[in-house]
């Protein structure tokens, strides 16, 4: 194989200069002529009908341009992504359904004026009984939150599929073969917030032709436009999204169904007849945007003494809050954990999406499988404890190997996929070795070290997902006669280095210098539609379109050379920035075939191929103070297999993005008032996160299984990013057990919960 010039080399990020100079432009930095500012009046009741709303006093205030209420929302406007259940949630409705639901949108010359005007909107509510929890919503006499969703359940649907439940193999036999069966009712309730540093920020404007333009802080401009179009009943091409720098996504800036911020901005811009900036406040971001899904679940897992899993069944009730917009998709994606964490082919999955009077749950890094990994690993821990199996042994024997089968319910008709990814048991072993697991793991419930009232313990967890190649991607590459190319893609940068990856792959495939490659802005009018930068798919699915576009472009160059220079296309090749004749080595420069200004464009199209999957293995050591109940992270080790690394420091950064996973287990929690589901942690003092002075020792294993080898991946590069925070929480849970001998299931492991568990253990003695 030819030596790679750019892939795998450390080259400063494209946006680096702008970032360190403070010149990188984010949506909130943009000022459009005549732009006004929007604010949202939000409901103080969890469930109520708006009996009367009078905005006249607000509208009369100097500097106020418009007040939007439910009366301004078209009757057929519902949030939808085209795969959600029956259209039900509206951006503003005559009913409000959670504390924080939008009641009125105010447009004014400044945010301060809008805030003042909000106070003058007079609303009379008729308070309705609310269903605050999954159990309350499923109760027989529960208040109906939407007419369209009887029993407060949103059926699982997907494009052309009306049932995402499945059962395959022989569950009965599988469980009969097991030496132990764990049957565990459990739940996840911490409602972690994606909490991008930049809150969702949108500028909307309508032009005279009726095209709706956005500057949007988003990671997937095409998909965002598609979802806005669906929700507003407009054609895709009439929605234009340009994405400036995106201040973090973690799934929350995909606007995959939850398009509230965009619809708010669009409705305000329409009524005020001017561009409107809607920048969510941090309080709204924490209390009225979206959280990780809460759920109740039952996990049943059969395991043999040798660590082999023989059967696995998962039942989930997932909380959508007031808008079922993507949960069914998250659950289908989450179902992948059944065959990533168990090698059994006897599997059963059943799920329901439950509507409650609560802030919507939504897309979040670890899309469904972070939740299932947490739940299944609880059962794995119990089984391994009972049978005294080393957990590393369990992950090793159950890990998926190349050519092995795994079940992806979204690959309709060919659900049993055949893995083209590396053998994941190698990753498990290599990461364990570097962590010195054999030396540090002293057995279940046995501390690694005791120092007074401090106990240390180690834990580990594995996760996998199969979204790498899924869904469509498209890239266009345009070459000019100076041999420079412009890459047109809507894959937006949100920190992962996706655009640097494209630049390297294109330079490599076209054999031109890196500085000849320019990546155009992520703009839906300037690039073909694409599912977007998410799910660790941009390197593989996106990268493949870049490669295919390059190949198409080279073909077109050869045809153009034939036309201009009367030599058959198949005698030409594009090498080193020149057209070269294969037969005699004769070289011609591009101006000979392309008279400026002129260009040729290659297109790369990818329909979405599965069979690709990615795993992440993590080890942690924690220290538990059994007097105070404080749990601290001492050491962390991540293992990834990149296939082939593209951006070394970019990869390091992504691997090191595990803290939200650790802190889902250690400190992050959305606290709801049990009386009305008001969020009590709606600021960054009360919502706990980690800063720079509280980090543990950390190391990583980076394998490159496809380096210098043939593979289906572009130059062997797979993408590793999304799962990097998924195994962290379950690993902490195991380490906490090994340090103290107590099992704490409820995230986060606060001192109160740990002390309560320790006390209970003492009492049981």
């Amino acid at each position: 194989m030819a030596e790679l010039k750019y892939v795998g080399k450390e080259i400063p990020r494209l946006i680096a200069q702008d970032m360190v100079r403070g010149k990188a432009i984010f949506t909130g930095d943009i000022k459009v002529a005549n732009m006004a500012y929007g604010r949202v009046l939000r409901s103080p009741h969890p469930h109520a009908e708006i009996v009367r709303i009078d905005a006249s006093a607000a509208e009369a205030m100097p500097g106020v341009h418009a007040v939007v209420t439910y009366k301004d929302v078209p009757a057929d406007c519902f949030l939808t992504n085209g795969m959600s259940p029956a259209r039900h949630a509206k951006p503003l409705d005559k009913k409000v359904r959670y504390i924080g639901d939008a009641v009125a949108l105010v447009v004014a010359d400044s945010e301060d004026i809008a805030d003042e005007a909000i106070e003058k909107v007079d609303v009379e509510y008729k308070v309705l009984p609310a269903a605050l929890t999954i159990d309350e919503a499923l109760a027989e006499d529960a208040p109906q939150i939407y007419e369209q969703l009887p029993g407060n359940v949103a059926p699982l649907t997907f494009f052309l599929v009306d049932n995402l439940d499945y059962e395959t193999g022989d569950l009965e036999k599988g469980f009969a073969d097991a030496d132990i069966i764990i049957d565990l009712d459990t739940e996840l309730t911490s409602g972690q917030n994606p909490l991008t540093a930049e809150a969702p920020t949108i500028i909307a404007s309508w032009d005279g032709e009726g095209v709706l333009h956005f500057y949007a802080s988003c990671a997937a401009p095409s998909y965002t436009a598609f979802n806005v179009a669906n929700s507003l009943n407009m054609p895709y091409e009439r929605i234009h999204v340009e994405a400036p720098c995106c201040g973090g996504s973690f799934g929350s800036k995909l606007f995959m169904g939850n398009v509230y911020p965009l619809l708010f901005a669009a409705l305000m811009a329409k009524k005020a007849d001017r561009p409107v900036l809607y920048a969510m406040t941090k309080e709204e971001h924490l209390a009225a945007n979206q959280t990780r899904m809460s759920m109740k679940a039952n996990i049943k897992l059969g395991v043999k003494k040798d660590g082999t899993s023989t059967a696995i069944a998962l039942r989930q009730w997932c909380e959508a809050g007031v808008a079922a917009t993507c949960q069914e998709n998250m659950m289908s994606v989450g179902g992948i954990s059944l065959t990533m964490l168990s090698r059994s082919r006897n599997i059963r999955y059943k799920g329901d999406v439950v509507i409650t009077n609560r802030v919507p749950s939504g897309t979040f890094r670890g899309y469904g499988y972070m939740e299932t990994t947490a739940i299944i690993t609880r059962a794995i821990c119990r089984a391994c404890r009972e049978l005294d199996i080393d957990p590393v042994r369990y992950f090793e024997v159950n890990a998926l190997k190349q050519g092995g089968q795994y079940y992806n319910s979204l690959a309709v008709g060919r659900e049993w996929q055949v893995s083209v990814s590396p053998d994941w048991d190698v990753l498990v072993r290599e990461t364990a070795k570097k962590f010195r697991w054999d030396e540090r793991f002293k057995g279940w419930g046995v501390p690694t070290k005791i120092d007074g009232h401090k106990r240390r313990g180690v834990g580990c967890a594995l996760c996998g997902q199969s979204d790498l190649g899924g869904m469509a991607a498209n890239t266009n590459i345009m070459i000019n006669n100076g041999c420079g190319v412009i890459v047109q893609t809507t894959m937006n940068e949100h920190g992962t280095g996706v655009r640097d990856t494209y630049r390297k792959l294109v330079a490599e495939e076209l054999d031109i210098p890196l500085e000849k490659v320019t990546i155009a802005k992520a703009d839906t009018q300037g690039a073909p539609s694409d599912f977007g930068s998410m799910a660790a798919r941009s390197t593989y699915a996106g990268g493949m379109t870049a490669i295919l576009a390059c190949r198409d472009l080279k073909e077109k160059l050869c045809k153009q050379a034939e036309k201009r220079l009367n030599v058959p296309a198949d005698d030409w090749e594009f090498v080193g920035g020149k057209m070269r004749r294969k037969s005699n080595g004769e070289e011609h420069i591009l101006p000979e075939i392309l008279i400026a200004p002129n260009s040729l464009t290659g297109t790369g199209h990818w329909d979405g191929v599965e069979n690709a999957n990615v795993c992440n293995m993590q080890f942690v050591e924690v220290e538990v103070d059994i007097e105070t109940g404080v749990v601290s992270l001492i050491d962390q080790m991540s293992g990834v297999d990149a296939g082939k690394v593209v951006n070394p420091l970019g990869l390091k950064n992504q691997v090191e993005s595990f803290y939200p996973g650790i802190d889902m287990a250690l400190m992050e929690e959305t606290v709801w008032d049990s009386n009305d589901n008001r969020i009590l942690t709606a600021n960054m003092v009360d919502y706990k996160t980690r800063t720079f002075n509280d980090v543990a020792h950390h190391d990583m294993v980076v394998l490159e299984s496809f380096k210098d080898k043939e593979s289906v991946f572009p130059f062997g590069a797979m993408g590793i990013a999304e799962p990097c925070m998924t195994p962290s929480g379950p690993a902490v849970q195991m380490a906490l057990y090994n340090a103290t001998g107590v099992e704490v299931l409820e995230y986060p492991f606060t001192p109160q919960r740990v002390l309560a568990a320790l006390k209970k253990k003492e009492e049981c003695k």
């Binding site: 432009i25 984010f26 540093a197 803290y659 996160t689 720079f692």
Partner: protein, 171 residues
């Protein structure tokens, strides 16, 4: 006839340049409740400082005032009369545009991901380095205790600062 108008003004010195801004309740005037981050971003066009939490917790809006790193979202502009303020736009060499050592280290070590928190992190670190060019890693981490980063630059951003410290030693 000559008209006279008495207008209260405030003087800010930002990145070595003096700005005189009118004070009052009008649209183009600095009101008593206006915070420095808005003045910098909306009036002076210096958008490098970002508005994050609005409560002085996340550090995205950090700038240096009179040698100290401050959260400009909880600093009233009217309290900054005469103050010398440096924003991230003021770090590079004004004549040549050359990055300072800290900025260059963030480029070389890829000390950022999405970048929204980065200018705040650089400014907090710069304030420390101005005071102590050779801090230990623990001191750097303490100086960044008020900076929130969701992407996970908890290691590479500190690597970048420490790289700059090493460079300071060479000089």
């Amino acid at each position: 006839m000559v008209k006279e108008q008495l207008r209260p003004i405030i003087t800010l010195n930002v990145n070595g340049r003096e700005y005189e801004l009118p004070v009052g309740e009008g649209v183009n005037e600095i009101s008593p409740s206006e915070t420095l981050v808005h003045t910098l971003r909306d009036r002076l066009g210096l958008t490098g400082a970002k508005l994050g939490c609005g409560q002085g917790v996340c550090g995205c809006c950090t700038v240096i005032m009179e040698g100290k790193a401050i959260a400009s979202c909880v600093t009233l502009t009217l309290d900054c009369e005469g103050a010398r303020i440096t924003t991230i736009e003021g770090l590079a060499d004004t004549a040549t545009g050359e990055l300072n050592n800290l900025q260059q280290a963030f480029v070389d070590k890829c000390g950022f991901q999405c970048g929204y928190c980065t200018s705040g992190i650089i400014m907090a670190a710069q304030a420390l380095l101005d005071e102590n060019p050779f801090p230990a890693e623990a001191e750097v981490r303490e100086a960044l205790a008020g900076n929130y980063c969701r992407c996970g630059t908890h290691y590479t951003a500190v690597d970048a600062v420490m790289t700059c410290v090493e460079k300071n030693r060479e000089v």
